[in-house]
């Protein structure tokens, strides 16, 4: 609210309020935006070369040491399974993605809206924050057996678990962003006669955006973990379920192929938000 301006002593050099200094970032955003993957072709070649050497070395080591396939399949076998059996994995990948997307959308929207609302009312924030922390710190997979018991083996319990994992994570980071009130910038907007809504849209939201993006990224990764975990615990489909399925049948090449898919999903999430951060929050770095 713009009213906070009216009683604020106009010196902006010190941080406003004690909590400001305790900006808890789960991710170090500046590190994230300033490091680039490869700054030149030389670096890119080096990165790829290390990967090739690692995979080839693993292949040779496993062959030489004669490690049985049920302990660790050869990288070449995993690759063959990944491409040869992709048709088997694809429907399950679709199931996992759908649960993740729906749960994430619900959780992220609720998280951002709640953060935006709650930071406007410090008293309400004080009351609600412990419960949000409780939700952040409790692994939501723990709820899945209970939800399955009530709702059956459909996607609903998993979607709920993903939302519950994503929402608080997005909220807690977004709230940190919304709490960063830069009184000088608010005063600037007010000096042009800005309304509370204009201040929110033009000052508070852009100021909070880098932290919102961090929240969305951490939330997406937590959402993926929870989606897969929930499939392991209580589902007949999805990539998590496939992990259980293939390991119980000792089809380790397939098992590892699923793990490679999951790792790729995680990396894609990271790269996507890295790009979003570069595009929308680079002013922060």
């Amino acid at each position: 609210m713009a009213s906070e301006l009216r009683e604020a002593i106009p010196t902006f050099n010190q941080p406003q309020g004690g909590e400001e200094s305790a900006d808890v970032d789960i991710t170090n955003w500046s590190a994230l935006t300033s490091t680039s993957f490869a700054r030149s072709w030389g670096e890119a070649v080096a990165i790829v070369a290390v990967a090739v050497v690692f995979v080839a070395g693993l292949e040779i080591l496993l062959r030489v040491a004669n490690v049985p396939a049920y302990t660790m399949p050869l990288p070449s076998e995993i690759g063959a399974a990944l491409f040869g059996n992709f048709g088997l994995f694809a429907p399950h990948l679709g199931v996992t993605l759908r649960v993740l997307a729906i749960g994430y959308a619900i959780g992220a929207v609720i998280g951002i809206v709640l953060a935006g609302l709650i930071t406007q009312f410090p008293f309400a924030e004080k009351i609600i924050t412990p419960y949000i922390l409780l939700l952040v710190t409790t692994p939501m997979i723990a709820l899945v057996p209970l939800l399955v018991q009530k709702m059956g083996f459909g996607p609903a319990p998993r979607i709920i678990a993903v939302s519950l994992a994503v929402g608080p994570m997005v909220m807690i980071n977004s709230a940190t962003g919304f709490r960063r009130t830069d009184l000088a910038k608010i005063a600037l907007a007010r000096s042009y006669g800005a309304t509370t809504m204009q201040i929110f849209r033009q000052v508070r939201f852009p100021l909070a955006l880098p932290m919102i993006i961090v929240g969305l990224m951490v939330g997406a990764i937590f959402g993926l973990l929870t989606a897969v975990g929930a499939e392991i615990v209580g589902s007949g489909e999805g990539l998590g379920n496939r992990l259980m399925f293939y390991s119980s049948r000792i089809q380790m090449a397939n098992f590892w192929a699923v793990i490679v898919i999951l790792a790729a999903m995680g990396i894609l999430i990271y790269v996507f938000f890295y790009w979003v951060g570069k595009r929308w929050a680079s002013w922060q770095a």
Binding site: L5, E7, P10, A184, A187, L188, S191, Q202
Partner: protein
Amino acid sequence: MVETQPQRRTIGANGAGAPEADGRPITMSVRHVSKHYKTGTGSVHALEDLSLEIPQGEFICILGPSGCGKSTLLWGMSGLHDMTAGEVIVNGTPVTEPRPEIGMIFQDANLLPWRNLWQNIQFPFEIKKLDPRPFEGRIRGLIDEVGLAGFEKKMPRELSGGMQQRASIVRCLSYDPDVILMDEPFGALDAFTRDEMNLLIQKIWMETGKTIIFVTHNVSEAIFLADRVVVLTPRPGRLAHIFPIDLPRPRTVDMTFEPEFIHVVKEIKNTIETGRYTPLPKLTGAARS
């Protein structure tokens, strides 16, 4: 110009230090303004019964030590702060909220870091829901004048402190306010850039004839720029003295080394230290009281 202001503070129907002589209309009146801030540990008494009249087109500097309430006074003038007592009147209307004829320039430029220079200058128009197109020629001219042509697409962090402050000056002038309030705008700049900015502000002021109220804690800067320097006492801020500055314009950096300039510097520093004005022995020649 009124020659002397002997009292620590003048309380009268006219307020203090009214330069009624040349008959210019009064743009801003500050009448018996006081301000207490409520803080966690009690209250801060920032301003005490301060009155001031500022005629149209005057360049006035408000000078005082840190924490003397000079920023508070300016924020009261802008309508961003409510005063505990007294009132501020602009062109006959009491200021109770930010007004369109008042523009403000802040400490440290205060650009929005997520907007480029051009978008920053558009910001007031977006908030005011004003169509910027009729002002575009004016804005381009201003950008040219302050030497920022070609930098429109740059983000604030790519600009030096001086360039950022130039951009904020353009942003303020873009929609053509009558009164410009400046809150220690060059405090964070190095001495050379500060001199440059002071020359620029003087030039803009001489060209546009705006009423400028400029808060600073830098004595030479105040004398260099002002028609009158208003000195406040340490907390609570009271009017210590108003120094008319009769140096010819346009003023140059060289003038700041002249004996009569330095004489005023000494008088003002003395006034700030003691809280009241005592004339120092006159220089031989043209030094003013």
